[in-house]
Symmetry: C2
Subunit: 351 residues, 2 copies
Amino acid sequence: MKSRRPTQADVARRAGVSTAIVSRVLNPEGKGTVRVSPETEARVLRAIAELGYVPNPIARKLASGRARLLGVFSFESIFPLAQRDFYFPFLLGIEQGAEANAFDLLLFTSATAQGSRSIFRDGVNTLQLADGSVLLGRKPPKDELARLAEMGYPFVCLGRREVDGAEVSYIAADYAGATAEIVRHLYDLGHRTIALVAGAERDESSIDREAGYLRAMEAADLGRSAVVLRRRPDETSESDVRGLRAAGTTAVLLETDDHAHRFLDIAGAVGLSVPAEMSFAVLGDPLNPATEAPQWTSFHIPREEMGRASIEALIALIDSEAYAPYQTTLPCQFRPGDSTVPAPGPREEGP
Amino acid sequence: MKSRRPTQADVARRAGVSTAIVSRVLNPEGKGTVRVSPETEARVLRAIAELGYVPNPIARKLASGRARLLGVFSFESIFPLAQRDFYFPFLLGIEQGAEANAFDLLLFTSATAQGSRSIFRDGVNTLQLADGSVLLGRKPPKDELARLAEMGYPFVCLGRREVDGAEVSYIAADYAGATAEIVRHLYDLGHRTIALVAGAERDESSIDREAGYLRAMEAADLGRSAVVLRRRPDETSESDVRGLRAAGTTAVLLETDDHAHRFLDIAGAVGLSVPAEMSFAVLGDPLNPATEAPQWTSFHIPREEMGRASIEALIALIDSEAYAPYQTTLPCQFRPGDSTVPAPGPREEGP
DNA sequence: CTGAAAGCGCTTACAG
DNA sequence: CTGAAAGCGCTTACAG
């Protein structure tokens, strides 16, 4: 199987020109604005076709620093069956973006250091083969992002990322705005005591949701009654729900659908009627909505669009001379459902 | 941002040795089994540490000839939302295989020629960037496969592919065996008139299912009653189902779950009680099983395993000197369900 | 418009 | 055990 692939030199020989000409035919927009005569170009093109020549991206990258290769790196497995619905839209958007710009994608699957993935291996930035990379994954190690930024490697994170001492590019979803919108929706339904149950992880997306919640509560003059419970779904307890009810809570925001499932279970156990006595909403796309239940109030995260935008930002980053981080936040779409109903009983308005 | 990184030459200079020595210290298991004296090695190591030297992976790949890049090409979009459940397991397996063998994956997303994807663009094999490629897609153009084989490019198809004049490597699922197993299952339930409704496309996987069906029918001495209806799901008509019933058919094999949904609709329309009067089974993984219905009798296609196997085969192919196609057929797992029940009424056995 | 040549940063026979 | 040198396949000033 070791049939030697034709090189630029083979093409040049066949076309009766130098390799410089072949390179210029291949890179018309290259530096120097050099021109090749139409006849010569035609000869080169024919030689390329006859030999089936394809430029070697490795050599290209070494010589020019460009490879027309965009990396996709995930700190977790890229195709985890369990998170299929989470990753797939991102990848679809990334694929569309790459295809639209005639880039190929490089999936860094070899970057495994004893189990967990890491960008640097023996100090080597494994992403370097690609001109730049999109970074996926819920919790990227901040120190690796910082190193990447420090060495000037172009990358874009999917999801807002704050890194000390570095301006990181990202495409984020507007969790804060979408969460605030849900609070307003509940307010309009008459709810005045609205709680937030968020995950134990205080990552950026969770911080944004909390910020949106607090902002909207304050805007509605409900700031004093704001309650944030930070719990893993399985940590949420019956006493949590009892406590909320005792405090007069009539609506609760649940960060994930795991939280929602857990909440429904507990509500059933403590005899709380949902949503009649307590409305609830999920702060994102319910990936595994309860099939038997009516639709939950939630919002749509534009993952596909985010994937596409990440590629556009990455290409802009690669092409730009001076470094300026691209930080884009895309709106989420509010999706009203049956899990939020008008607040029960007499309203207790402020004095 | 362009602070020049130290190169091997910088290290060599500082350590007072040649670059060859530095390379050997870095690649102890490289070819040639050359040794470096401990003192020299220590000096090199110190220089590396002092300079913060990190080898350039691009240069490494170019010099060594080992790109460790495996291509993934799909004739359709790789991440089609509609076919998520179909492709995802393949990709998961491919990712696992690549990771296990320390290869990166190259997704050919730039290979678009006016809408549809094609391996050859302007006569050029675009896959050449990768050491070899896995080919996905339901109906790969046979002429492109033939050309690929002819030029000696290493590739493995996911799914059996027969190409005139070429021995193509593939990892297939044993549709024939699994279909035969379902026929036997029905036979054991007392069914004697069993029909097959397959798609209009006579591609390899469909041919295999039909072959398994016919083989099992003959083995059960039911060959004379074998009936194969070739229909697109939406072409299947009420008269088809009435005809089957009139012929005494008590069980029907449906190639896809689309066929199954259509069959159930028609059965309802013509007043056929399913599965009481007519059992049915799906010849593969029901991707969109009717949620309200009980589980259908079917079999599991080992897509994840197939993905992994395709990478192993591909690497073997790349490493092999002489060409020999890898053709592996993996067993499917029979999955009994509630859609197959004992045959109704008096059995009509042969004379 | 075209070519000869240097260079990208490594690896690897080939000589000492 | 070590070094000088060729080469991997390109791009890109620099001269014509």
